[in-house]
Point group: C2
Chain length 462, copies 2
């Protein structure tokens, strides 16, 4: 596609302001044309390496003037095509805007720039006895995690980004800078703009600073692994654990296929059965008590081998296995692209939907190991996709639609933590109906010219 006159003028103006921080080479643009999903690449016209909020203000003002789309880019680890600039325009890369600005130990909060990664933040917090627990697996940026309302393995205890973002600094579509909330722990001051921006996938404004809740690093951490004869037993063990009020920190399920992939990838020898990976946080005695209770519950649900791991080394090995789950699966089909389903249902329906879907997968001959955050009712089938195999790809897409419809019919959601992006727009409508009209009203009033990540979440035509 030829670059329009308008775009060329915008780039010239941006280039004048930002010098060599405005990049237009093919290789750089390509790097910003794709995320970790199966969605098709599309290139931005230019990429800005932002260093401060004021950079974003200046860039947005130029873009607003030329009606040029703007996409924010962090680690590029989104899995629904959120960062793909499908209408071209300017991508703002935040990886050099990655300072931890202010850690306030007494207040258990921290302000960071959007390019700070989750691991970097925890490295900086560790010596203060604090942690930021939200853990989506990938070493995503805090900006990206905020924009997609990410969560992950620890949400059952510590909540999602929703629960851990206190305040945001946002550059709006006309280049104004707003701070959505003060730093107090709670507030009833008007509409909750903070949580309107969390999960808005860059469509309402560009986040340039984030204040997060922190948590004390627990005195004691231990893990456990337990395998079960079937999915229902594992899920019932989870439900019973929650009913007992055990403040479990992580409770993850892998099915036999996923365990098999992990064993192959990491040369481990876990039992090839539905398996729970668990983690306990608390005081020494509380962690011991939690492990004992959960051990008893697992036996009650026919787990043959509840193994409690107190050594840090053993724990790390366990979570390496869990965190490498998707990689392990993808390594079974070299060259394939990742498609991860992401439904989340009320936990009472979890075993039912998993077993039903596994049956579909088997009938359709689709390879899709399962791993998930079962304490929240959220799970993923990780499906390696070869888009050139059109017949198989059609089957996979049909499976995904059926899974999402089943989840919605159970009062669940088509996306627990990955967002809508490009791939789930019609499902969003199935799930929330006329709510989408109200989302559109907000979008239109905040960004009347539709320059903020256009084409994501919903289309503007009702």
């Amino acid at each position: 596609m030829a670059t329009s006159e308008n775009t060329l003028r915008a780039i010239a103006e941006l280039s004048q302001i930002f010098g060599d921080r405005l990049l237009t080479t093919k290789v750089v643009r390509s790097h910003h044309g794709q995320d970790e999903s199966w969605h098709k690449e599309a290139l931005p016209d230019a990429v800005l390496m932002a260093h401060e909020t004021e950079d974003v203000v200046k860039a947005v003002k130029v873009c607003a003037n030329y009606n040029m789309p703007i996409v924010a880019f962090g680690a590029g680890s989104s899995v629904e095509g959120q960062v793909i600039p499908i209408q071209g325009g300017l991508t703002i890369n935040f990886t050099e805007m990655n300072k931890v600005l202010d850690i306030r130990t007494e207040d258990f909060d921290v302000s960071v720039q959007p390019g700070v990664t989750r691991k970097q933040l925890n490295m900086e917090l560790r010596s203060m006895g604090l942690m930021f627990p939200v853990d989506p697996g990938a070493n995503a940026t805090i900006g990206g995690m905020t924009s997609t309302r990410a969560s992950g393995t620890t949400s059952v205890r510590y909540g999602t980004m929703e629960d851990n973002v206190i305040s945001l600094t946002v550059v709006t579509a006309d280049g104004r800078v707003i701070k959505t909330s003060q730093r107090a722990r709670k507030s009833s001051a008007g509409y909750d703009l903070t949580h309107l921006f969390v999960g808005s996938e860059g469509t309402l404004g560009i986040i340039t600073e984030i204040t997060l809740r922190l948590h004390p690093i627990p005195e004691s951490i231990s893990s456990a692994v337990a395998s079960f004869p079937d999915i229902a037993s594992a899920v019932n063990a989870v439900i019973t654990t929650l009913m007992y009020g055990v403040p479990i920190a992580r409770i993850e399920l892998l099915d036999g296929l996923a365990i098999e992939a992990v064993n192959t990838y990491l040369k481990s020898s876990h039992d090839v059965k539905p398996t729970l990976f668990l983690e306990f946080h608390g005081s020494d005695s509380s962690v011991k008590e939690q492990a004992e209770i959960v051990g008893d519950i697992c036996s009650e649900f026919d787990s043959a081998n509840f193994i409690w791991k107190t050594l840090e080394e053993d724990r790390n090995a366990l979570w390496e296995a869990r965190h490498n789950g998707a990689l392990a699966v993808m390594s079974m089909r070299p060259g394939a692209e990742l498609l991860a389903t992401d439904v989340c249902v009320p936990i009472s329906r979890l075993a039912e939907i998993i077993e039903k879907s596994q049956k579909y997968l088997q009938e359709d001959g689709i390879y899709g190991p399962l791993m998930g955050h079962v304490g929240d009712g959220n799970f993923h089938f990780v499906i390696p996709v070869d888009r050139s195999n059109t017949e198989e790809f059609a089957k996979i897409k049909a499976f995904c639609s059926r899974l999402a419809s089943d989840a919605i019919s159970m009062d669940g959601t088509c996306t627990g933590e990955h967002g809508i992006g490009l791939g789930k727009q019609s499902l969003l409508k199935d799930e929330l109906g006329e709510c989408v009209d109200y989302m559109r009203l907000i979008k239109q009033s905040f960004d009347p010219n539709n320059i903020m990540n256009p084409g994501k979440i919903f289309s503007l035509d009702a």
Copy 2:
């Protein structure tokens, strides 16, 4: 004020639909003209006793047709004038729409109608081993608590309404019914409309059903009381407790004046000093461990008498004292009206702002005992107000403004849990600046004719 032709026609139409559930007597209108605040009464033109969502749809359609304001009314326990119909119109009373619809024990959630009160809900949940922990003191309705983003004594552990509302059914300004979210524990499906409605004080639509998170009733509950030589010691004990990661369920501060009022009101004999009221939830051993740790911390900060109460009777007496704090203070000035300040600051600034404000109160000769949710940094001066004493009232209002400005300058909020309503609109602007413009955009797009609780939170003229 004479009732307009337009209003008379609207009332006639509503009356035809709802028969004797539409009330227009002076006594009923008066009952709906005031909340528990010092704000001036204003009467609605009519009151509808709603029974189901469809009633609200019909009423909204008539009101929309005649541009008639609509205010939702629950227990009338708001403290910032939220339910006062300052432009007249229709008040919808939800006290007869008070069914607990569906308790789902495995999913730890419940759907309720808006008129269900907090105590009623907990009565119905008890036999299932579940509880809804948000506790603002008053026996408010869940609808009202949702609309004002209420919190209270247990938020330090269980969060506010923000953290405990899963989904809402809302009748919008044109009479459409939307359900803002499915029932899954988490979701990344588009903009978070649920939390946009939570705290919107009836200005964006009328909430007609609420799905809430539930929590297991802990195996063990115990309380403690500890008095301190000064505010700073008490606050430092709180900060240290949080740093230790003690999952404390309640941690409340009363100053000497408040203790004095409580002693008089309840004929109790608490030490007349800054005092923490604490509650621990967990397993037997965990509760014991928590109490021991916190006992040690309190001694470290010069508390002479940490008293641990394990008997339910003693616990109840303790929390009766805390919950009757405001009543106790008001009983010291019979006939006065309630003005409760509500700032919330980062906890590192808490002792500073309290001590500074107490000095102001003393200098100005204002009687204002303090009680607050110090684990969140939120506290109230409870000030009995006699509006006819204009000189004193002016002094009190000046004190409130100064307190709010101080809180805002410390990155705190002018309202931790009471909302903006009528009294804090200019403070909202001081606190959030241009954010208010974006709130106004949302209001205008959701309710273009401004019939939903007009005049609350902000004015429509920028």
